[in-house]
Amino acid sequence: MKQRVSANQFYFALYLSVLSTVFMYLSSPDIKVSQTDSILRPVVFCVLSIVSVIPSMIVVRKHRQLKKERKYIEKTPFLKIIALFYGVVFFFSLVKTFARFDLFVSSELFPNADMTLFLACIVGVCVALSFLDIGALGRASVVFALVVASSTALVMLSLSQELDFLNFTPLMENGFGKFLGEGTLFAFQAMEIGLITVFSTQLEGDVEKGFVVWSVLSSVTFAAIFFFVVGVLGGFADTQLFPTYTAVSLASFGLLERIDALETAVWILCIVLKAALFSLAIIKSFHIAFPKLSRKITGTALFIVCSVLINFISSDIERFSFLSSDFLTVALFILSTIILPVCVILNMRRVKPVEKLQEDI
């Protein structure tokens, strides 16, 4: 029996997941974080996410229409291939998430420690959490979101005294074209949008409205975070591997001198949730592609492969550079949010009456 999740709870999970991208935002030599443009880049994210979600929304609508007509989608080989591709795309996203987390932990928290066991534990926890299914993750996300919002607000409040308006730069100093390009690249990091198609049969409520709210809320949160990063750090942000973390490490509130410890714990929460969501999507996709494989076997295999791969990447910064390359980011985003959902829509013509249903998708 598949778990159902309300659209609102699902979007809370996506919100936390996408927030982790900004919390662990990596500086790049090509895109300067210290520019005031960083605060406006989320606008591009907002527009692009709403445009790119259209195929996924068509999938959700078609599913609902088929449900009303008491029909189901036939499991054609084409659908299995699509599911396989989804699994691979999300696997790369998961590895990328873990690799970024590994870089953060091994840089900021345990610079001299051997990360092998720690990484394996984190992967194990995330895969295990994915077995709770989307309903439980969605409900937990609502509680987590409150914790994240309150701790982030506290950090912002304490950082407000460190703001220096001379740290800001003229808007679109390098032209609108460059700004648009940087904004688009930033938006492509939101791999979460592709999850909507995978969980489309389990979503209840107003998915379209919820997405617009998610997109706007995420953009506003990103803009607020970047406002503080730019205002507090200025050009120093470009010298730091994790500029958001560096900005947070300057925050103190009364006797609480190290608020970054609290905020880091919250970020780990977001990362774990994001990884659990992607793990669940991978298991679900591979289950469609290979129906004979049980979810437990898929989950165990995912844990082993992921742990080995992360430890392999962890030992060499050049491997990480490939994983976080712009090419891979763009390719994964376009595949998961546009190409694969369009393929799903094409496959939706192959339907059968529900009376012949043997196994739900």
């Binding site: 001379l166 120093f236 730091q240 190290r258 970054d260 410890a261 714990a265 929460l269």
Partner: protein, 375 residues
Amino acid sequence: MCLVSFASCEKAGTELSDLMIIQGIGVDYKDGLYTVTVEILNNEQSGSPNGDSVSENKTKIYSMQGETVSDALRLLTTKSGNLPLFAHNRVVVINENLNEKTIADVLEFFVRNYDSRASQLLCVSKGKTAEEIIRAKLFKDTVKSEILENLLTESYNRSLVPRVRVIDGVNALQNKCGGLCIPAVGIMRNGENEDYELLGCAVYDENGIISGYLSNEEAEGMAFITDDFREGFLTQELYTNEFVSIVINKSKTKYDVFTENGRLKYRLTIDVSCDLDEVSVMEKKKSDPEILRDIKLSVAQGVSQRVEKTLDALQGPEGADCIMYYKLLQLENPRLFKTVENNWHDVFSSAQTQLRVNVTIRRAGEEILKDNETV
């Protein structure tokens, strides 16, 4: 998850007594070698059951030489036997004479190292080496770096010198137009002991090389110009041999950048709010609205003089743009800034500043004042 993120876990599995908890770092450079001097907490003394009653010092001091700052700091382990922990470092003292090295070379380690915090304070040793500053024989057994940190922090809180952290140093030197003013400290004799003393600011040019100094008086105007004023004191001669002392509790500076006859001009409007601390004039005059007007005028003159002194020093041959004039122009008129960016040093030196100071007396102690107008 909280436990994972606690800072002390950075050295997981290491006892506190096995850590070299660094409080202050002094960096000198001579003959191709860095000499790094650190003050570390004496863990054996702090952790002993007798606590403060033991006679051992609270801190230990080590020096080590190396090809780089990192090299020298890491080699310290061979002397102390402990692992260095930079996360609690309070202050970095940099020798005024770095020979062929720039301040950016010294800061590189503190920017790149994971453990090192961006909020460490910077200061320059004037007339002494950084090692001598760290090894100063202060009046009692204490953490010297803490005293130095307090001196720098309080001087900043009283708007005498700017606060310069690692982050500020990097930000100022990143742009090829900006200079940097770092508080300078020296040592003075106090009986048999020594004390730290503030000796104005060292001025670094856009290449990170020291170009001159601001005296304490010349440095006082910086907080007004950069709109980073915290609190300050001012004593002005109101009439002949009659003085007024005021506490400036708030100052807000507004900027306007424009060109006139092809010359770059800055208009600074400084709104100052102050309390009267002492008015040593004849008693019968105190309630007179005219005296209030005179006080405001006098305060405005005092603030103007401070700002003008700072501007004169920074725009002089040994100065640099430590007051972010380039940034103001960049924000106000990016196109114009791009045309003068490559020649900024000359443009800055010849830039004119129009000053307007508005003074408000917020409180006058026990006196009731009728007038609160702006001069």
